[in-house]
Every structure is written in C-alpha cells, then in structure tokens.
Amino acid sequence: MNLFKAILLLIIFITPLKANTIYNLIKIPNLEIYEINTKNKLKYFYATSLFRLGVQKNIVCLNSNKKDLEKKYKTIYKTLSRYSYDYLKKINLKYIVLCENLSISGINTAGIPDNIMKTLILDIKFNEDYFERVIHHEVFHIINGQHKELFDENEWIEFNNSEFKYAKCSTCTKKLGLETYKKTNGFFTEYSKSTASEDMAEVYSHIIFLNKKKIDKIRNSDPILNNKISYIENKIKKIDNSFTF
C-alpha cells in the first residue's frame, strides 16, 4: 500500500504542468482563443498545431493558416449567430474549435460534436457547398446528445416506408451524399439514409438552412418529410419554446 502511495505521489509530482485554461476546460490541446466576445457568448478557438483526441487518439485535426481561418470564421460566426445565448445554453453548446482536415480513424468528417464538453469541433476545409448547412447538422447532434430522451429513433423509423432500413452506423454505409434531392421521397439527402440520427440531423439542418417557402413546398409534396419536419420542430419547441425556424 505504501509503495502504491509512493508511486502515485511520484506520478503526481512529475506530471508536467499544463497551465492551459482552454485545455483544462475542454481537454483539447494546442488551442488558442480566436474570438470570445460574441453576442451569443460562443467562444471560438483555433488549433495552433495538430491535435489528437480520444482514448485511442483516433481523432486528428490540423492547424490552419490565418487567411483560411479569417475567411471561414466569418461564415461560421454568421451561421451560428442564428442561435441565441439562451438556446445555446439549453442545448449545452459553448465552445467552437476551428481546425483543418478533421478525421476520426482516418475518415474525414465535417464536425465532431460533444455536448458533455459543450464543444463542437469544425473542419474549416470541409466542402464549401454544404459547409453552412453542415454546421447546423452538427449542432443537431449536440442537441440530440443533450436531450436524448426527446428523440426516439424507433418513433422516427416509423415515419419511413416499412421496407426501408437504415445502416448500422453512419460510417458503415456508402450513402454519404450531401446534395439535397430534387425529389425527396422521405429523405433530404443520400446521407439521410445512413442512420436515424443522421436523418434527424439532416432534417433539422434543412429546416434551418432552407427558406420557409421551400420547406412548405416540400411539406406539401412529401408526407414522410412533412411528418419528420413536424417531429423535429415539436421536439425543438420542447427544448426552447421561443426558438423560431
């Protein structure tokens, strides 16, 4: 027991000092403040060098040059300004990490949401065509993680035709297309067909991103999507009744 205590003490006292406030708060190394004085109190950080996360260090993201950061920050800031401080508090999102070439286990991804750490990591080099909408998509994953009890996947699956089946996970399918279908037929994008939770995120991001006229048109022409849109809207209202789509 004494030996165990001695080893423990040795480890404690030789541990290098990481007096880094950002690291202490969100456990991501190599970050610096990009902007923290925002209207909705979102705090933006950027990677100063490559960082690795996760138990197996399988999440990797690179730093970016200033010019790219400046350009993309404007878009991200504008997109996330859509959300009020109160709404962000309810969904538990506070920190945005900006970096480049974000990947999990070698698979590129637009963002990694973590509602427990109140953090959303965004790949600023993600496909420009879908970038803004994808931010909302990732915000939904924060919402879903924070309010799991509200979003029932079995209930959601019932909206689809009985013969349709989602894949077992979002990365174990080739359905990765993000282009919005012209003929929706129950799904906004090919990626919607991957899993129920990705489908929900795609519906949410489209409701936020598309204008009301377009959404109304889709609702009138696609009864499945109409149900899905109503479902998401109702659940979001339960989280924040003042939120407007």
Binding site: L8, I12, T15, T21, L25, I36, K43
Partner: protein, 214 residues
C-alpha cells in the same frame, strides 16, 4: 620598534570587495529566506469598507488578503463560503493547487488539513455539508483577484474548495461560481508556494486563518 606597514591600493580594493561580498551574501540569504520581505500586508482596521458585512480576511504566510464577497452574484455559493469561514473550517488548510502567476486553490477540508494532509487524495475531499449548485447565470468578469468555487468536472458539484486567480481568465465566466474578489493583497498570494513541474504542491503553504470582518 614595530614598523607600521601601510596597505597597498590593491589590498584595499580586495578588502572592500570582500566586505561587499559578505554584505551581499548575507543580504541575499535573508532575502531568499524571507519570501515576504517586500510584501505589504494590510490591516483591515485601517481600511474603510463600503460593505463591511461582505468582507473576509484571509491570513496566509505573507499577510492579510482582503476579499469582498458578492452575495448578489452567487447567493448560495457565498452563503456556503461564509458558513465555512465563520466556523473557522479553513484554518490550517493547504493551498494544495498552485500555478505560478495563474491561480491558487485551497479548501480541501478533508485531505488538506495540516494535521492530516493526504497527498494521495488532496483535492478530492469534502466539507460534510454536501455539494451545492453552480451559480453561473449572472454576468461576472473573471479579472485577476476573482475568487470562485472549485468543482469537479461536472457542474453542481461545488463544496468547500475555492480558487483565486492571479491573472485575468475570461473563459472562467459561465464555468465557475464566483464568490468575490480580492480588493487588497493580491501580491501576497503570488508568494504562496508553487512548483514548476506540478500544480500539486509538496509541503504546501497553509491558510493561517480565514475570518469575516465583523
């Protein structure tokens, strides 16, 4: 008859050099030994306070640190803090976590006491009064000297541990329950024992006393 021998110029220089060396050695020894030498301590009796009921005096090795508490910002947090101060619970409790020029943390009433210091568990102890909810809704600027309640990784786990920041920490707003601000004696806290390679301190400094003004 003994002949008087005059000291040569070089001998005089060597003598003066040795005297200077002796003075500087002794001076340096006392300066190094007494870390509080140039630190001003504050006597609360000589200060007029706007809200004397909200003033707490933290006495540490180099003197008095005077803290104004903000019950309007965090009513429950300040109430807990005052309860512990009034029961002298913080006396002889270690500054177990110190980061040079960044923050000092104390208040582990279970494993941080001078007579029962437990290096293996320090920082995890409880007060016995239970945990309280975080109060992070109100606006508060975490400028240097701010005092906040420490918590575990999760919110709503505040108990007795508190920290005082020695530099501005804007990211602390909305994360930690603020309870007050140091209005006199921040320099005193910079002399609390710290280590370069660890924020946890071997043979730490202790709080002498912690009292409310009235």
């Amino acid at each position: 008859m003994i002949k008087k021998i005059k000291a040569s110029t070089s001998e005089k220089i060597i003598l003066i050099f040795l005297v200077i060396l002796l003075i500087s050695t002794l001076g340096t020894y006392f300066i190094i030994k007494n870390k509080c030498l140039f630190i001003k301590s504050f006597d609360p009796k000589n200060i007029n306070f706007k809200n004397p009921n909200n003033i707490a005096i933290l006495n540490v090795p180099c003197g008095n640190v005077i803290i104004e508490l903000y019950p309007k910002v965090s009513p429950n947090g300040v109430e807990r803090f005052i309860t512990l101060i009034k029961s002298s619970a913080y006396d002889d409790v270690a500054f177990h976590r110190v980061i040079e020029n960044k923050l000092v943390q104390a208040g582990d009433l279970e494993f941080g006491r001078k007579e029962a210091l437990d290096y293996g568990k320090i920082g995890t102890g409880k007060s016995g009064l239970g945990i309280i909810k975080s109060e992070i809704e109100n606006e508060f600027n975490y400028t240097k000297g701010s005092v906040g309640l420490a918590r575990t990784f999760k919110n709503d786990t505040e108990d007795s541990q508190f920290f005082i920041i020695l530099q501005d920490e804007p990211l602390f707003e909305g994360e930690y329950t603020p309870v007050g601000k140091v209005i006199y004696g921040l320099e005193i806290l910079k002399k609390i024992k710290h280590q370069r390679h660890s924020e946890y301190i071997l043979r730490p400094d202790f709080i002498n006393t912690f009292r409310m003004l009235d």
